[in-house]
């Protein structure tokens, strides 16, 4: 497969087994560079598995997959691709700031960035608190802040806005837009359909298959509805 610079990630006929079960079946998609692609679909549909394959921590990946023109998980990608996991992936017995300082040291990010990011994800006030004392929404923001350290080119964020209040969710989407302006590419998963409307492009995933990849406007046109929940249902009907 030839690599096109307009695409940060290209996958063709990708099948992935996780935990001994085939989770993704022969999926083909491409993530446009410098855009936010929403990976939307119900839980258990293969979103996390797809993300794990892209960041290169998933075994048993068959088919073609290129990330920034390289094989996923290549050493050169460790500084350029960041993964914000769905589980908090932070040390419970460290403070918020200590967690970020550790990951900053590992990716070689300047210490000043820790303070900047704490402010951006609204965790300044909780910086000195141990992670184990935080709420679920605060924990997911640590995961996000950790992923932003070192200014990665490709950010893969698994359900970054789940459980957040609407004001904070709005602020995070503003942050995502800024990252795009700075030249990054984002893949953001959500099981909430209305988040799809905020993305440049939507990749609908259900039962391990790509239902559609299109802009929100194209989806509305193709299904004859502005309501993404309805659009999803119609696409499922068209398939069956």
């Amino acid at each position: 497969m030839s690599f096109s610079p307009e695409h940060a990630v290209q996958a063709r006929n990708l099948s992935v087994w996780r935990g001994g079960r085939e989770v993704l079946h022969d999926v083909t998609f491409a993530l446009p560079a410098g855009r936010i692609t929403g990976l939307i679909g119900p839980s258990g549909g293969g979103k996390t598995t797809l993300m794990r394959a892209v960041v290169g921590v998933q075994r048993h990946v068959r088919g073609e997959l290129q990330v920034l023109g390289m094989a996923p998980g290549s050493a050169a990608l460790h500084r350029r691709v960041a993964y914000g996991t769905q589980s908090q992936a932070a040390y419970d017995d460290l403070s918020v700031r200590e967690n970020l300082e550790y990951f900053a040291a590992i990716v070689g990010a300047p210490r000043a960035q820790v303070d900047r990011l704490l402010e951006r994800v609204d965790l300044e006030a909780a910086a000195g608190q141990l992670v184990r004392s935080l709420s679920g929404g605060q924990r997911s923001r640590i995961s996000l802040a950790t992923a932003l350290l070192g200014d990665p080119k490709l950010l893969v964020l698994d359900e970054p806005t789940v459980g957040l209040d609407p004001v904070l969710r709005e602020r995070l989407w503003e942050l995502f837009r800024e990252l795009i302006s700075a030249g990054a590419t984002l893949l953001v998963s959500s099981h909430v359909m209305d988040e799809a409307a905020r993305c440049d492009e939507v990749l609908l995933l259900r039962d391990g298959r790509v239902l559609a990849q299109a802009t929100p406007a194209q989806l509305a046109q193709r299904t004859g509805t502005d309501d993404l929940e309805q659009a999803f249902l119609r696409l499922v009907e068209q398939r069956s």
Partner: protein, 242 residues
């Protein structure tokens, strides 16, 4: 770089857990004191077995601490996260090794100072060598704990590896019966277990003046086992998982 950052992180985690630090440093000292007074009427037993306890404590404590710490690393998602960063698994384990060796050295220092001071134990050989031997055993505990964490899915399971991997070594290392008096099969098994060399080594330190060649040889064997266990364990930290 990654190893130093990891060591700092592990020590910071411990700093937020003063109770564990207290237990790690206090319990061996307490046990040694109890042992001393249990054999109050028979000081020769304390003189004989006391030095062996000095190398058993770091094995037990570091196995427990590192098996749980590394299991958490595997199950909490932090390892998966680290595996997407430039940190190599050797740097990660190097960091754990640095932090736990430091901790084990302080632990051994406390036990040694107490034993040789207030409790009246005497070592013919080098005290520093006894502490270094204890630190090497701590690395062995880290390696075995790392391996145990690879075969356990929960903290319940991982502590069950303690009786499975550590207790047989305590039975066969020469603490209860001198290794020379063991039968052929048991002696052969004993020869294959690292703690046998740790105990042989500390016996040499207790009985022979200076840093005897025999003690240094045993130390080298313990270190080789420790490094082997850590390298074998490193193979179980994979970038890609199922």
């Amino acid at each position: 770089m990654g190893a130093a950052a990891t060591a700092t992180r592990v020590l910071r985690q411990l700093r937020h857990d003063p109770r564990t630090i207290g237990l790690l440093l206090g319990v061996p000292a307490l046990l040694m004191t109890i042992f001393r007074f249990v054999y109050d009427h028979e000081h020769a037993v304390f003189e004989h077995a006391g030095p062996m306890l000095m190398v058993l404590f770091p094995l037990v404590t570091m196995f427990l601490v590192s098996s749980v710490a590394l299991l958490r690393e595997r199950t909490s998602g932090t390892l998966e996260r680290l595996m997407t960063t430039p940190l190599s698994r050797f740097a990660l384990l190097g960091g754990y090794g640095l932090a736990f060796t430091l901790l084990a050295t302080v632990q051994a220092g406390v036990v040694t100072a107490l034993s040789l001071g207030a409790l009246g134990l005497s070592l013919a050989g080098s005290t520093a060598l006894a502490v270094v031997l204890a630190a090497a055993v701590a690395l062995l505990g880290l390696g075995l704990g790392l391996l145990a964490s690879a075969f356990a899915r929960s903290e319940f399971q991982v502590v069950q590896f303690f009786p499975a991997t550590i207790l047989p070594q305590l039975l066969l290392c020469g603490l209860l019966v001198p290794r020379a008096r063991m039968g052929g099969v048991l002696h052969a098994i004993s020869d294959a277990l690292p703690m046998s060399y740790a105990v042989d080594g500390i016996r040499h330190v207790a009985e022979e003046r200076g840093a005897s060649a025999a003690a240094v040889g045993d130390l080298a064997i313990v270190l080789a086992f420790a490094v082997g266990a850590i390298l074998l364990g490193a193979l179980t930290l994979r970038r890609r998982t199922d």
